[in-house]
Symmetry: C2
Subunit: 425 residues, 2 copies
């Protein structure tokens, strides 16, 4: 094995450095022991997957020889032009068609990718050398932390309030990086801005605007642009309030905001079509990199998404998805209210797939903790909160939290799982 | 634009370094001017795409709620287990089920990827740091040269004979790298072993065995394994002789051969499913990297390929594909015989998608040459041969060759294109 240091290895620095993503371990456990109730996996809800609708659309598509051949042929590196246009238009609509901001929503700067994860990967490749710094929310999406770890990119955590990062703390972090002459290493701030994974919190318009202003202010000292990468993967999975517009809606955002989104979560994870909008300066570099990755995302999958958007299937199914997750979120938080002691703090999610729960500080929820083992003995899996924090040398990592996902498990399993968790707590 | 050096840029070394893949430029030209006859693009033949068969299989798949849901849900990072098993078994069968070589064909070391290009990319990430060296055929697949260029990996060209690389020259190259103390930078030899892109030549069994032995011999001086990466993308596109077994069929190959293949070219490029088989030491590193790229290839596409293999559609369509390419190859070479002067040298391909043609040495076929412009004036596109040679400081790049693809164009267009090319020559 690669870990066997007694044999000489030809691995690159990246090959040696890249750690096992913890989600693989958690998913592996569930596969080995199907009886486990997984409140860990980021899978989506099976019954809401648009099986019949996709069948109908694929039937139509492949029922036409010319359309069918085009769908089974290579496309272009940037993605299907119709899908790029529909995507740019959709983001603009979700942002409320802000006036005078057309520059933010250009189809030509919209790239279709093999899931939004591939987009995050390539944007990071284009911007970050080993030892560069990405500012992240504390806590953040742990799979993105995996990309950073693999590429040797350092992280600095920015504390969160109920409405997104704490701008005062962001300023403190930037200022301290300026003082230690590390600002030139800072390439971007990464925000999961809608129903954040893992906390479920959304970033307010004010915080997005404030963050963009702060980053701008420190650019002179950095010697280069500092980008805001907005990961909007969960944006359409809301079931309560209307979320704030994206950072693209801000003036001058077109050349500083990297926007990442997906059709996987709101439509079908197995179709695996994501997208991103890039500032002009990053467009050519990312497309060149994409040319080397795969010279274009699977064309059949793209054509299915085009037809889902055009036929209305996407919207219709999305409404179902939102209703379903609202019910599952309620099942989870009702159970938490019934079975968790007062000392456990958590917030009612308004969208997304997760509830974030904080146990008393003395409880360690880590993968190797007694608590994790005890919960596993009761056949329940969760994501230890510590995995969602970057390795930031300026603060200790909190270890008393859990991410509880209501995405994949049935309502009965959610209730059972939470009751058992409550018993261990 | 990224190329604008007057503005400070936040790009990484890779972001700055990565060049526009020439194929994007060539494809862009064809899109801008649809009247061009493209003998350049690597597209496949539209009429052979399995439109009706795929429709039937997707109908069956999505006609079953449980199967349909599974297909529209995330899969695992390494790929669908059934597809991994079918793939490993298929490679073994193509190799003639060699006795005592079971270790070479393990499903657990088989990874399903978003096209074989993604596999080549990740294997290179796992092995190569900037300034490392990959030995390549002279000439080789120019999109792989793009991966190397982007990652700052240097190349050394190994001359080719009719049956693959010249082993004498490989030894010379290795010996000279040993003498200059550069052998530790050498991570692998990359061979496109079946109906090579661009030359159409196939590597014989003897050459594969000899190359593996030579690489082994230089490992002590390198201080680490030197892998043979066998790119078998065109393996099933043969229409004459039975090709040699893969390098996996050699004794002890399991821990030195990286095998890359695809279902895109022989089945449907728009489905975009490739695969690779990895030595044990590279399996975990590549799977970890894949976890960061996309945590798994699109599941619906994988399920379609599984059903195509199981139902016999794959084999049936493949026979059609092979017949069709044989006819198109014949149309191209018949036209070359009729319209090219004696001074042009080329070989009758036995498979693949390309004919490699050498003009007299004094003719420059490069992208900025007078010849290229003249051919373009006649509305014909080809791939300049120079693009297929790595930047090897030890030899000048030949510039008098062309890659002519019979993959996408119709037989009439092939004949027209070759006639016009002949007129310019």
């Amino acid at each position: 094995m690669a870990g066997n240091d007694s044999k000489p290895s030809a691995l690159s620095a990246m090959g040696r450095r890249t750690k096992e993503p913890p989600i693989s371990w958690l998913m592996g456990l569930k596969l080995e022991r199907p009886e486990l109730i997984s409140l860990a996996a980021g899978f989506t809800d099976n019954p809401t997957l648009p099986v019949a609708g996709s069948r109908r659309l694929l039937n139509e598509l492949l029922g036409d020889a010319a359309l069918g051949q085009a769908a089974l042929q290579y496309g272009s590196t940037a993605g299907d032009d119709t899908l790029r246009k529909l995507t740019a238009r959709r983001i603009r609509q979700l942002d409320g068609n802000p006036r005078g901001q057309a520059a933010s929503y250009e189809a030509r700067r919209t790239v279709i990718t093999h899931g939004s994860q591939q987009f995050l990967y390539m944007a990071t490749e284009a911007l970050c050398d080993p030892d560069d710094i990405v500012l992240v929310e504390d806590p953040t999406y742990f799979v993105y932390l995996g990309i950073m770890q693999s590429r040797g990119v350092a992280g600095r955590g920015v504390r969160m309030n109920r409405d997104g990062i704490d701008l005062g703390h962001l300023e403190q972090v930037l200022e301290s990086l300026r003082r230690s002459d590390d600002l030139k290493r800072v390439k971007m701030l990464y925000l999961v801005s809608y129903y954040q994974n893992p906390t479920g919190r959304s970033t307010s318009r004010q915080v997005k605007t404030g963050a963009l202003e702060l980053l701008r202010r420190y650019e002179r000292a950095a010697g280069h642009p500092i980008y805001l990468m907005e990961d909007a993967a969960y944006r359409e999975l809301g079931f309560a309030a209307t979320p704030a517009p994206s950072a693209l809606a801000n003036r001058g955002a077109a050349d500083r905001v990297i926007y990442s989104g997906t059709y996987s979560k709101p439509f079908a994870t197995g179709v695996r079509v994501g997208f991103g909008v890039l500032p002009e300066a990053l467009l050519a570099p990312v497309l060149r990199i994409k040319g080397n990755h795969d010279f274009g995302t699977g064309h059949l999958a793209q054509q299915l998404v085009v037809r889902a958007l055009e036929s209305g299937l996407y919207e219709k199914n999305l409404a179902k998805v939102q209703r379903r997750y609202r019910a599952k979120a309620k099942a989870m938080t009702d159970a938490m209210r019934a079975h968790f002691p007062e000392a456990v703090r958590w917030e009612q999610p308004e969208g997304g797939l997760n509830v974030w729960a904080a146990l008393p500080r003395k409880v360690n929820t880590g993968m190797k903790s007694r608590f994790f083992r005890k919960v596993l003995d009761r056949k329940v899996l969760y994501v230890p909160g510590g995995l969602c924090y970057t390795d930031d040398p300026t603060r200790p990592k909190p270890g008393h939290e859990m991410r509880l996902s209501f995405g994949a498990a049935t309502e009965t399993d959610i209730q059972k799982g939470i009751r058992r968790l409550g018993q261990v707590i």
